[in-house]
Amino acid sequence: MTATTATSTRFQQLIAEQQASLTPRRKIVNAVMLSLTGLMTLLALIPLFWIVGYVIYKGGQQLNLDFFTQLPRPLGMDGGGVLHAIQGTVVITLLAAVFATPPGVLAAFYAARFPNTPLGVALRFSTDVLSGVPSIVIGLFAYALIVKPMGHYSGLAGGIAMAILMLPTIIRTTEEMLKLVPHALREGSLALGAPEWKTSIIVLFPAALNGVITGFLLAIARAAGETAPLLFTALGNERYDIGTIVRNGVAQNQSFLQILERIVDQPVDSLPLTLWKYAQQPYPERVEQSWAVALVLMIFVLLINVLARLWVEARKRRLQG
């Protein structure tokens, strides 16, 4: 029982001595480390809550329904909103998603299936490099590639710049998710005689879809919040209103494609771009409004995230039964 009885071995005695001398010290070290990590956790949370809280506080004062439904009014006039920027953000983000998703997902299939072929290795290396390229360089690239030849700034150019920015995220997350799909699932399909491509589409992709969507949203959220690539591409447009474009188009009997072209083929604004422009103007009301823009941007990104999580959760429940 005790270390001092005659039956205890030398080893047990040593252990008991060590215990006696170490226990208080151990407790102190534990307490110090625990409070240190707790303190640092709080410290790390401060910027997050500070930013969110301050944006809500400053932006909330400016926010009203008009802010979401009106175009900007000239300086000196009260009211007005950032409808143009909200619409522009949606247009650019949608364009980016449409351009980046098909090549991104298909390339990820290739990389997941043939990781060690020269093409697979090249893809992985270049996505790593591409994700490290500063976003302003990508904007410059889109300027040279699209804005210059077309002769004018446009939402299309902005969308393409954003697509390039999103591509590495989409490829890498899709690839990782496809790799996580159990090998047995693939074999199960192939053993039934299914060709490789059908196995990929019907079995692997649905199994990986939740993860793919999560990665896709991270990419969207990043694209929606980027400013730099839009400076040279989408430029900004305070009179942009899809409602007016569609109404005029219908009045002039334009086809759907013509209207679509008008929507994407002119300069557009986006929320971060508007925020950046408003914040550096010397007029206090614009500066105040820029806080509200920041709040709208935050809500926009949050909304995408929440909706996607709900969808993913619902899908998970359906699959797990």
């Binding site: 074999e187 005689g193 019907i202 797990q320």
Partner: protein, 277 residues
């Protein structure tokens, strides 16, 4: 080692196939499998008889699964794998490159060690195979799904929830779903790679009963670690072991009864009596 010639005429079997003559559905002739330079299997010779259950037993790492996977060319998925010799299915060599892998895999189905239902509902899991082969009409698919699930002894448990996810089922049910999925394309031979090793004893028993039921219409080849299982379910048993080059060889093949009661090879005797492995 050479294969013992079988006295096939003299046997009496309990299954309902007594009336039919015992024919070799598949013949393996001098087959070797290589992974790169490594010879994983050496000179395998065996017959797989129609409407019988053939078990492959042997210690871990002796190439049982490799052998099983060569029957439906799943080894093709391993880039360095290469097969020598031949495997005949109804007299045609299925290892030949000109043979259509898709057709081989339709005729020779497979059930895996761990249940691997697709992340789809129960109906879609079973209908997946028939759809691959162009069956689109809802009526046809409904009939196939019901028939396959009945064959796999799962119909009564799932008939009211065909549109629930296959993953919502228990492990044993999932494995029977995988069997139903394999049966849905009406294969001639079914390969089972330790189909019950991840299941509890009751689920294992159900799988074994189901094998007994379906063997009237199919030919079954099962790899198992469980010698009692091999003794319980199989008509023929193949005993495998690795040789001094770590390559798998078939050291004995014959009727299950004779393998377990009167093994000709000392190593088989040691293995089946539990003195080894």
């Amino acid at each position: 080692m050479t294969i013992q010639t079988l006295e096939i005429e003299s046997q009496t079997h309990s299954a309902g196939s007594d009336a039919k003559p015992l024919g070799a559905k598949m013949e393996v002739q001098n087959m070797s499998v290589f992974y790169g330079k490594f010879r994983a299997l050496t000179d395998i010779n065996m017959n797989i008889y129609a409407n019988k259950i053939t078990a492959i037993i042997g210690p871990s790492g002796c190439g049982k699964s490799t052998l099983l996977r060569s029957f439906n060319r799943m080894n093709d998925l391993t880039p360095s794998a290469r097969v020598e010799g031949s495997i005949l299915l109804d007299g045609r060599d299925i290892t030949a490159n000109r043979e259509d892998v898709v057709d081989v895999r339709r005729r020779i189905g497979m059930v895996f060690q761990r249940p691997n239902p697709f992340p789809k509902n129960i109906y879609e899991n079973v209908a997946y195979g028939p759809r691959l082969y162009g069956i689109r009409r809802k009526n046809d698919l409904d009939l196939i799904v019901e028939k396959s699930l009945k064959q796999a002894a799962l119909w009564e448990e799932v008939k009211d929830k065909l549109h629930q996810s296959g993953l919502s089922l228990s492990g044993g049910q999932q494995q029977r779903l995988c069997i139903a999925r394999a049966l849905a394309v009406e294969p001639e031979v079914i390969l089972m790679d330790e189909p019950a090793s991840a299941l509890d004893p009751i689920s294992t028993l159900r799988i074994e009963e189901l094998m007994h039921d379906i063997v009237k219409e199919y030919t079954i080849l099962i790899v198992t670690h469980n010698m009692q299982q091999a003794a319980r379910v199989s008509d023929f048993t193949a005993m495998m072991m690795i040789d001094e080059h770590r390559s798998g060889r078939m050291i004995e093949f014959g009727e299950t009864k004779s393998i377990f009661t009167n093994p000709k090879d000392k190593r088989t005797e040691d293995y089946v009596t539990g003195r080894f492995g």
